[in-house]
Symmetry: C2
DNA sequence: GATTGCAAGAAAGTCAGACAATCGGCTTGA
DNA sequence: TCAAGCCGATTGTCTGACTTTCTTGCAATC
């Protein structure tokens, strides 16, 4: 009997990674809004079978990152300004609440963490890399949301922000938006550091409102 | 040419219905929290193939109605009180906002609709059918959320309420809870009908807080 | 008697291939 | 020119198979 070499090189793709890959591809704007995703194409591109792919697509559908129309298949949803507005409004609710709570309970250690992420954004803001800007800004919020004491607040917020990632990248490249964003975020940070709940809420609200306004401008001009 | 008999009896189960069936089964408490769901069993019970079932399970996983642990498969998550609290808190945020907005913009027609659902709950409350109570109460909120002018608020709310449906059924059967719930809901209704935003917010907040307290009591005693 | 190790079975993860149902566009005919 | 119908592309779903991983029960050892 020949020896069983068991030369398993690729341990049969892990599906969980597939979802992440696809999500990342969507975030980085690889697909145009409204464009269809062809299952067979994605299968070959990702190197997985159709059943596995379809599982991943169902997850993304539930996250509202893609749409699946019966008998037409998956596509990237074209986000209307109406829906985007609604998302910004709920985001405001959540972020304001989180910032307020954070001001009352954040630990010195986490506060340093927050400061560090603010510095990271500062650096990104002075560059022209709008993807880095969006990513570091997302880090900043994540730390606040993760330390507000309510895991659901964080979870819902993440889901919503994911859906407007497309807008955020574009509005961040507006002239001067990164810099004013930095100022607003610094204000949030200062308020939290001071333990001033009211101020943290106010600063947070201002920030989201301005982000929304910037998104609107970029949409009106860009599209 | 032979006549087209077209004897298609079962048009090959539609997958969308599968998700709904499973979701309903979970809502009605058919599975114990923590219990595992065996794919092959569900397949035969639902009369579908494993790939289709797995797609449905992925959707439910993304909605957090089930958990899928790698190599262990799907199971009903045991909701900790900590997480339940977090959900109630976010629910409060959303419902208060929705009720406030609703008070300012609801149409007379929708208001009648709301009144009707309140009556439906009143009837259910005087019975002992706690499932009917939960369902009619859910209708009441749905109308408010659907008329607040922000579709995302509604969407997120629905997702959260689904996850605590288990609690709600049990706390509703607490002695007197249905009746006091009715009083609170009537207060919300009156405030909205009067177009009084502040009052609507306050009443809504009270209602969620009491619902949370009732859930806590039923959990401490029951489990 | 308790604990560890092993083996057999159960269940999940993944794949390949197949076929019907449906949609959209294109051709053809009036 | 427009409508009807056909055809290709793509999705919806199934069957059946295989490997990997987990669980459980039994046995052997300390």
């Amino acid at each position: 009997m020949p020896p069983d070499l068991n030369l398993r090189i690729s341990p049969r793709t892990v599906q969980r990674e597939t979802v992440d890959k696809l999500r990342l591809a969507i975030f980085s704007g690889l697909f145009q809004p409204g464009s269809r995703l062809i299952e067979s194409q994605l299968c070959t591109q990702l190197g997985i079978s159709r059943p596995s792919l379809r599982e991943a697509l169902r997850s993304l559908e539930a996250e509202r990152l893609i749409e699946i129309v019966p008998n037409r298949g998956p596509s990237i949803p074209a986000l209307s300004w109406e829906v985007a507005t609604a998302i910004y409004e709920v985001r405001e609710l959540l972020e304001v609440e989180a910032a307020g709570r954070c001001a009352l309970r954040i630990s010195p250690e986490q506060l340093r963490e927050l400061e560090k992420s603010l510095s990271a954004f500062e650096e990104a803001a002075s560059s022209n890399d709008s993807l880095a800007q969006v990513m570091t800004a997302a880090d900043f919020y994540s730390i606040i949301l993760a330390n507000c004491g309510n895991p659901i607040l964080e979870e819902v917020h993440r889901g919503l922000v994911a859906r407007i990632s497309f807008f955020r990248g574009r509005s961040m490249s507006l002239d001067g938006r990164a810099q004013s964003s930095l100022a607003e975020m610094r204000e949030i940070f200062e308020s939290i550091a001071a333990g001033d709940e009211k101020a943290a809420r106010k600063a947070s609200k201002q920030h989201v409102l301005k982000a929304k306004a910037a998104a609107k401008i970029s949409m009106d001009s860009g599209l």
